[in-house]
Symmetry: C2
Subunit: 363 residues, 2 copies
Amino acid sequence: MNETNQLLAAYNRTAYPLIGHGKRNLQVLKDVVIELDGNRESDVYGTGEVIEEFQKKIATFLGKEAAIFFPSGTMAQQIAMRIWCDKKGLKRVAYHPLSHLEIHEEDGLKELHGIEAVLLADETRQIQLEDVLNMGTNVSCLLLELPQRELGGELPDYEDLEAISAFCHEKGIVLHLDGARLLEALPYYQKTAEEICQLFDSVYLSFYKGIGGIAGAILAGDKPFLDESVVWKRRYGGDLISLYPYILAADHFFTTRQDQFNKYYEGAKELASLYNQCHGIVTRPVVPVSNMFHIHFPLPTKKLEPILLSIYEETGVGMIMRLRDKDEASSYCEVNIGDQYASVPKEVLTKAFQLLDQKMKEA
Amino acid sequence: MNETNQLLAAYNRTAYPLIGHGKRNLQVLKDVVIELDGNRESDVYGTGEVIEEFQKKIATFLGKEAAIFFPSGTMAQQIAMRIWCDKKGLKRVAYHPLSHLEIHEEDGLKELHGIEAVLLADETRQIQLEDVLNMGTNVSCLLLELPQRELGGELPDYEDLEAISAFCHEKGIVLHLDGARLLEALPYYQKTAEEICQLFDSVYLSFYKGIGGIAGAILAGDKPFLDESVVWKRRYGGDLISLYPYILAADHFFTTRQDQFNKYYEGAKELASLYNQCHGIVTRPVVPVSNMFHIHFPLPTKKLEPILLSIYEETGVGMIMRLRDKDEASSYCEVNIGDQYASVPKEVLTKAFQLLDQKMKEA
């Protein structure tokens, strides 16, 4: 067993895990299925009450004319990019170099569609208004990810967002929201999903991040756009005869968690503050703007993992699941807050972070 | 409600439905989930015991080195075609004009890959050895569907299959099996899946046709081919974080039904014979070679549906779910046999077909 697996295994044994909603085990599906009426009919190739009602519900939530459920955000967003490129007759889209499309999709957009990516900003910072003003108008679509996962869930100022939206609309550039974690952005902006989505022509929302479903995504926008997306969904092999296991889980957890994101956000700010009080540790952002942040440690995994393992052992607090080396002298990880954080007793938490501070000083 | 929906609604109310395994309702998932251990971990992006064990099991069943689970056969087969085309550096594949790729996928193969299809045989008959011998060698891959759904589940002679396979291997043409309904072909051939798959370089198997799962497919072949398919699966957005709802259902129903296909085949032959004894009705094939066949009626839907509705009403037998007009004077439908047929009392069946024969004579 390598060190990373050892940390995860130890984390999974702790009494007080701090991250997310809990284990991704089959119980998640069991909890959803137990309450279902077995006589309800399956969806059939995108039709039927199970899928149509959910699509309507989320379209309304996002303030869009229509919505289509997809097996994945990868599929939904590539299809969105393709439709917007076809509309303008220009196979160029702009996004951040740490966008999901750039780093997690094996160049699907290029390999399946021949669409070229114009990368804005860089790996140290978000896309800003100036990047957009300077990118020129030779792109069909600009994709913004809110909050941006690979930057610790950072968010641009809302005024900048409004200015970017106004610029794109003026220049005839489609603005697409990678809202995989859109609900996670609402508490900071103090806006509704509908208000934010009004700035965008199309929106993708994921159901297994903060919402904690099993898989699946929604693509929302105007009806002609989504009618085209259904044709592409079939071309991709995403128009499954039955998507209901994902839809029912998405609906279940959307309903139970949609009002919890302020609590997760407050938890993230509190937890980040605990880390920042420890010797040498810095979070990004220092004050989180969503339910997530990154933690940067002035020790490599090889030295930090034994420290964490001893704290898990002594206090029962599971702090981190996976740790990555940044260079020979430092490491980092991602943390997101879900249902679990609030149920950890404060005195246990305090004890764990006192230990962490002390051990970091000694290291 | 239109007439077709009326027929389906009436079928769904009958006490003795003849087709398939039963309703595609949420109970299918409930039956699978009820027996699961909630502590079992989810698959995660193609890894984990749930997906890996099932892939191994099906690879062994098909006699192939490896297998990968996909959300759909559409995705799996397009990817197979792309890999084989890339290998030969030639974007041309051959298949039947009624292949799933040609009629049900919105030209995905062309739109996503620029792959050209060479269509062999025609809408009245299967691909024969002579079609293959005459197609030339200017294709990367030949795809055969066994049994061929849109031709009533017809199958070529096994000797022809062996000759086609030998020819392709000699000429360096990859032979791919669209085995969506492969288990349905075994009783007629009196061969194992492994024996049939030996004739092919790659194989696709579906889990929601005769097997009766919820959705999903396996692509099997040699390891380098499947390693490439995993990259494409990610590009397509098919590498979902969790595919377990489909995998667990596929495994459950594969296990419970894999030995039932001889029974389904015998049932199909019996039921086709009952139809063929009715005035003016002919099945295709006249003697089924799988668990399915088509039924051709010398009446348009408008005249036939009232007859069927009255028989459903009088006998409780649900004969047909969906009926399509062929022309102004005739109609047809597809029938497949699953778990339900064997439990219909013979005297009830006899009564229903006596009525059908009589009403067809009077019509």
